[in-house]
């Protein structure tokens, strides 16, 4: 049995599992405690967005355990790193030139890469995960001991086809596929984009390309409620990442709650693998979906898929509860039970219907938040999605208003894998067209019709996904708003009451909400709701944290100023 150590204890793992998943499988639900309230924290988002699962690994502090594949002998601790800093990673002067740089190896990024490679372009495809496929096709990394969980996936033939074309591209030397790679900044210089990789990426450095496609997908929209910071409460995407990526059941007894079609496949997957899914709570009411019938009929695949989940859930006797929400998570050091309650006709919680269910894991999701961090600093033209969130506006080639900046998938409007595939392909073809290639007009027209049809369907689904505008009103003052800084809802309410017209950018100066590790990525939707500024677009010049020592090592300034780094004379 292979093991790593966590705070001195030996933790067994199977090759391919993330550190966070192995810890959870070993019964460690809290990876660390918070600086302020000394509250336990564990896996929440599971995909590197929330920074709850931080630990010190081999001396390096602030590492997301959900993003690190476990290896033999790792030293993982919940303690602060020692004062002596670990040496900076390998110097990162490596420059790579390509025609198209793609950030995000999900369906959109893969399809774009495949289309561009067909036209003879040089492509760099980057993904933070250990394997391409995004959240939709999420597999353990190559060479792992884990099952591939093919029964948990859809459209595997499409995936296999795309993988084959990417492999051809690699063999031809025109695709540079970078797994486990994160981008901390993108800068436009003249006609080119410079994509800066984090120094901890396997091959750090800078990618220079004429075209940049940002296909970074989305993460779950989570809204505060009492107890949502307890270990064991996760996003639905977090549950899925543990199951698909690390073959770990997040709990024996699970409740999945929130709204939207994403709840179904995850609940079905958990049930298929042996979790007892004690309830699937959908805030919406039955019948809501049927109103979108014409568009649904145009997407028969979606109907079949949903019917499949429904049959699976019925087989495992999973209770589907509509107009029902989780109002509280209960437990001392970790989740022990949830309280569910019905919503009345006006969408308010009917407290008299409250009922407790004992669980080990809860997944929550109210839809998706597009990951725009690499886009908003360039100030592209935005549009309001049907769910009220701002996304990047694109033209018929998936081009944003910024020259050379392309967008596909959830970053230009939440719409799921099918739409992302079509948009990605269109983006790849668009680069070929811009490079002067004559494309088959009929093929492009077909693809655009497909995008339009899938977009209509996605918009209908999103419109049916319940967004509870009154949700925050029902939450008590001591509810945690910002998980990182442990700002309470009451504190934010008091500041807003005193100063009135504050936007989230100014609220954070008073309450620190959004100033912590995740930089407001998780609490952002809630703070925007509180401030009444739903269409505010957050700008983060740094898309992901970078160690100061690693940045310093890249600076010439440092070499000339610091005698210790001079060449020996």
């Amino acid at each position: 049995m292979t093991t790593f150590r966590f705070d001195g204890a030996e933790i067994p793992f199977r090759r391919g599992q993330s550190v966070a998943a192995a810890l959870l499988a070993a019964g460690v639900s809290a990876v660390r405690r918070t600086r302020g309230a000394d509250a336990p924290r564990g896996v929440f988002c599971g995909i590197g967005v929330c920074f709850d699962c931080l630990a010190t690994i081999d001396g390096a502090g602030g590492v997301r355990t959900c993003q690190v594949i476990a290896t033999e002998g790792l030293e993982v601790t919940s303690a602060e790193p020692a004062a002596s800093a670990p040496p900076p990673s390998e110097s990162a002067a490596l420059e790579t030139v390509a025609d198209l740089a793609i950030v995000g190896g999900g369906p959109a990024g893969m399809a774009a890469a495949a289309a561009a490679l067909e036209g003879g372009l040089r492509v760099v495809l980057m993904d933070a995960g250990a394997e391409v496929g995004g959240q939709y096709w999420r597999f353990p990394p190559a060479g792992s001991d884990l099952g591939r969980g093919e029964d948990l996936h859809h459209d595997l033939a499409t995936y296999a086809g795309l993988r084959e074309r990417l492999a051809e591209g690699e063999r031809a030397g025109r695709l540079d596929l970078r797994r486990g790679t994160e981008v901390w900044a993108t800068v436009r210089t003249g006609q080119a984009w410079r994509v800066h990789l984090t120094p901890t990426s396997p091959r750090p450095g800078v990618i220079t390309a004429r075209w940049l496609l940002v296909a970074t997908g989305a993460h779950d929209l989570a809204l505060p409620f009492p107890g949502w910071d307890l270990p064991g409460v996760m996003t639905v995407g977090g549950l899925q990442s543990l199951l698909k990526g690390s073959d770990v059941l997040p709990g024996q007894r699970v409740v999945v709650a929130g709204s939207g079609p994403f709840l179904l496949p995850v609940a079905a997957g958990l049930a298929a693998r042996g979790s007892r899914v004690l309830a699937l709570c959908e805030a919406g009411r039955p019948g809501g979906w049927a109103r979108g019938l014409p568009a649904v009929v145009a997407q028969p695949g979606k109907v079949r898929e949903a019917a499949g989940y429904a049959a699976l859930l019925a087989r495992h006797r999973v209770q589907l509860r509509s107009a029902t929400v989780v109002v509280r998570a209960l437990g001392a050091q970790r989740l022990e039970a949830v309280e569910v309650a019905r919503l009345d006709r006006s969408g308010r919680v009917d407290r008299s219907s409250a009922q407790q269910i004992e669980v080990d894991a809860l997944g929550v999701s109210w839809g998706f938040v597009p990951r725009l961090d690499l886009l908003t600093p360039h100030r592209p033209r935005m549009r309001r999605g049907v769910d009220g969130q701002m996304v990047v506006a694109v033209d018929g080639w998936q081009a944003s208003s910024i020259p050379g900046l392309l967008v596909a998938g959830e970053t230009c409007g939440v719409g799921g894998a099918g739409l992302a595939l079509a948009e990605g392909r269109l983006a790849g073809l668009g680069v070929r067209a811009a490079q002067g290639e004559r494309l088959d007009d009929a093929q492009v027209a077909r693809l655009r019709r497909e995008v339009a049809s899938l977009r209509r369907f996605a918009d209908l689904v999103q419109a049916r996904t319940v967004v509870l505008h009154g949700w925050l009103h029902d939450q008590p003052d001591d509810t945690v708003l910002c998980r990182c800084e442990e700002t309470r809802l009451g504190a934010a309410r008091a500041v807003i009451a005193q100063h009135g017209d504050l936007d989230p950018g100014l609220l954070k100066h008073h309450t620190r909400a959004g100033m912590g590790w995740c930089q407001g990525r998780i609490c952002g939707p809630a703070t925007r709701m509180l401030c009444g500024t739903p269409d505010r677009v957050e700008e983060r010049l740094l898309a992901t944290p970078v160690r100061l020592g690693d940045l310093a090592a890249r600076s010439d300034m440092h070499r000339s100023e610091n005698p210790a780094m001079k060449e020996p004379t």
Binding site: R35, A83, Q498, D503, L506, H509, R547, R554, S555
Partner: protein, 379 residues
């Protein structure tokens, strides 16, 4: 006496509070939110240490006293006013000599500057090879957004009215007043241009431009760390950079911690207009300089980078006083990177102009009046 204050940043908020407390009828206008411009983009410096003897240092010393008074009145914790003191650390023998000479001149002007044999007595985590430094116990820090909001709230309590999110688009046809985007017309006896980096544009809209231009700066923010940096610590070349007129990039390290545990690392200076794009070399250089001072920071994660645009005048002094072309218009902008620290003194000075109650103060700072910046063609 009724005054319109254009700008609800730290300068406009302080002026509104001082003037309202002095019995002036105050209306504050801002095109965006309160403290949403450069005020929210700085470290909150209240510094004497970086200023050479002269009018700016005089204003800084006045302001320093008034910040303490304000802390007494409103509660220091309300805007995180901290007497943390500054520590200037030379990283070369030439810088040591220059710093000693600079501190000597400052002492003559009344600044407390204590020579420190071993900087590690004050800052144990500084790089081991650093030795002597200069301690400025009067340097302080404030959370600028909280300060501006507290000042504005106090101004409101004293009767000031505040209109946000409605930009000024021009003057009125005759007499003191402005028109705003919403169609409103505000009239008063005097108008104060406290629009900071946008002060040049506001002056132009009213027919009396002043040469205030943006000087961009990036600030780096780390993860929350355990307490390890107690003072505002900066390398000695910071002083030279603040006073420099070089258009290119200058970086000089300022490192300090905040009550939230994060560590702020500044400061770069570039004249690139209102260019928003991130410059990676700037981030890398600031990181290198910070790690040079504090090797312990090498293992810490950078979480955020933000930028702001300091309002600067060609001679690096703020422009405070009535405009000779439009005597009802007072400028109070162009404080460059020192606006937070200088806000209280500026407010007292502007209030003295408005009420006529303190001719001595007005005389003492006559050298900051706009006249000095107005060339033949500009006036």
């Amino acid at each position: 006496m009724k005054v319109l204050v254009i700008g609800a940043g730290i300068i406009g908020s302080a002026i509104a509070r001082w003037a309202a407390r002095a019995g002036v009828e105050v209306v504050v206008l801002d095109g965006a939110g309160a403290a949403s411009g450069t005020t929210s983009r700085g470290e909150g410096n209240i510094l004497l240490s970086d200023k050479a003897p002269g009018l700016e240092l005089d204003l800084a010393r006045l302001s320093r006293t008034l910040w303490d008074d304000l802390g007494e009145d409103l509660g220091r914790e309300r805007f995180e006013l901290q007497d943390k003191g500054g520590l200037v650390v030379p990283t070369s023998p030439e810088a040591t000599a220059a710093l000693d000479a600079f501190a000597t001149s400052q002492r003559v002007a009344g600044v407390q500057a204590r020579s420190v044999e071993d900087v590690h007595d004050l800052e144990p985590y500084l790089a081991p090879d650093l030795a002597s430094g200069m301690h400025y116990p009067e340097d302080a820090q404030v959370q600028p957004v909280l300060a501006a909001h507290a000042l504005l709230a106090d101004a409101r309590a004293a009767g000031a009215r505040v209109f946000l999110g409605d930009p000024v688009i021009g003057g009125t046809l005759s007499g003191p007043g402005v028109r705003t985007a919403s169609g409103a017309v505000h009239r008063a006896d005097a108008v104060v241009n406290a629009a900071g980096t946008w002060g040049g544009a506001v002056g132009r809209l009213l027919g009396a431009p002043v040469p205030v231009l943006p000087r961009r700066g990036f600030i780096l923010v780390t993860e929350p760390c355990p307490p390890m940096i107690r003072h505002k610590v900066y390398s000695a070349d910071y002083v030279a950079n603040v006073a420099s007129s070089d258009a290119g990039l200058e970086t000089s390290c300022v490192v300090e911690s905040t009550p939230g545990g994060t560590i702020l690392i500044g400061a770069s200076r570039e004249r690139v207009g209102f260019e928003l794009a991130l410059r990676v070399e700037v981030v890398e250089r600031l990181a290198a300089q910070a790690v040079r001072l504090y090797p312990v920071l090498a293992g810490r994660q950078l979480l955020r980078v933000y930028r702001g645009f300091r309002p600067y005048c060609p001679d690096h002094l703020p422009v405070i006083g009535p405009d000779p072309r439009l005597p009802w218009l007072l400028h109070a902008c162009g404080h460059e990177g020192a606006g937070i620290g200088l806000a209280t003194g500026t407010a007292a000075l502007v209030t003295a102009y408005l009420t006529g109650d303190d001719p001595g103060l007005v005389d003492a700072f006559a050298g900051l009046k706009p006249n000095r910046l107005l060339t033949e063609e500009a006036s």
